[in-house]
């Protein structure tokens, strides 16, 4: 695990109130956010929404084109957990959305020191597939996602 916190004092935002809903046949933005907003930052016991890593506005769902785009904002621009957070978001969406959806996950422009490298890795499906066969990484992802299944 991480011995030293990368961002020891993150700003905590209030979680947005949302009506509970069951999975609609045609997911839209709010539903997709709800799917992922309960995930924890691997470093902090706060959800990604409370840390404003992910916001409702940063998730775009195009149901006609079976397309989802997620933009997340790491709390610090040298966040070494960015790829793990991105991987958690991808796994959550893979497990929750119908397989017909194409998902692109990116860090917000200017939010990360190695933005292009992080984006490239997160969207290389061969690397994602290999990462998810790594039991240590998969356990970490499952730990992050656990609260989102409560």
């Amino acid at each position: 695990m991480v011995s030293e916190l990368i961002n020891a004092n993150p700003i905590i935002y209030e979680k947005k109130e949302r009506r509970p809903r069951t999975a609609p046949s045609a997911p839209h933005d709010e539903y997709a956010v709800e799917l992922i907003d309960q995930q924890e930052d691997p470093e902090h016991p706060y959800s990604l929404e409370e840390l404003k890593v992910i916001t409702e506005e940063a998730v775009e769902v195009d149901d006609q084109r079976n397309y989802v785009r997620v933009m997340f904002t790491p709390t610090v621009e040298h966040c070494s957990m960015a790829t793990v957070i991105g991987l958690c978001l991808r796994v959550k969406l893979m497990r929750s959305l119908p397989s017909r959806y194409k998902v692109d996950i990116r860090v917000a422009p200017g939010s990360h020191a190695t933005e292009a490298a992080v984006n490239k890795q997160l969207n290389d499906k061969e690397r994602v597939a290999a990462a998810l066969e790594n039991s240590n990484l998969l356990n970490m992802v499952d730990d992050c996602l656990a609260p989102s299944y409560d």
Partner: protein
Amino acid sequence: MMELKEIQRLEGHTDKVWSLAWNPTTGHAGIPLVFASCSGDKTVRIWEQNLSSGLWACTAVLDETHTRTVRSCAWSPSGKLLATASFDATTAIWENVGGDFECVSTLEGHENEVKCVSWNAAGTLLATCSRDKSVWIWEVLPGNEFECVSVLQGHSQDVKMVKWHPTEDILFSCSYDNSVKVWADEGDSDDWQCVQTLGEPNNGHTSTVWALSFNVSGDKMVTCSDDLTLKVWETESVGTQSGGGFAPWTHLCTLSGYHDRTIFSVHWSREGIFASGAADNAIRLFVDDNESQVGGPLYKLLLKKEKAHDMDINSVQWSPGEKPVLASASDDGTIKVWELTSY
């Protein structure tokens, strides 16, 4: 008008189908067509065409050898051996003994995921590549022994594919570092060197290069990329020059605007048609553009097949048989066999 007609949809794999390879010695002289497919379900399947019905059936499942995804497979030119590359960091060699496939050798050495394996034209050399950024060349020795003769470092990121030239012992590798590298043995002592890098400065790709394929004469190749383009390259002469030395490859043209997600696979048929398969679930076929003006496009779209699969297409491969038959492998767990027909 041409049409890509679906002959059969093959089910059996329980996860993504990453790659497929036709046995090059099948499809002629009454020998039924055979191909192998490999998957995230850790298995390899062998499919054979029934000569009377024309349909394919799975005749063997190669399992309990690889412990992780099997990413690619390749038949030896003799069609007797099948090599399979896995995320478990090994490459397995399978021998076909009367229809039964037996794992006769396991090649170890890469630090992590092996992504591709390729046999040279003579079947005397094997190349593998990995996320560890290296390309290994193995010599095929008698008794199913394989000896690593060279470890090629040069790519700065994972190497996605290796492919030998169809007639010469020249090796091509493409990578997550956006480049294609050309490797040749310039001495006679296994002194393999990178003789050319096709990258952004020489009109190369601007993102991961996923695959490449040669035309039948070996003087052209096509590459495909995450940058959503296909590029065709040419060389002036194939083969060892009389004075020694290597004839470099140059960019001929770029085909863009045909796929709107990553292009994972491209394959050139003997008839001169190249097929591309992409993450947009579509297959595209391209041919020589005879009417092209000087400076205009040299290849034109022959046909597009939208929704060829329900998910990403990872591999498209033309069969070695007499008819123009194409097989495609997808994240949806299926393989489809298509025939190109005119109507």
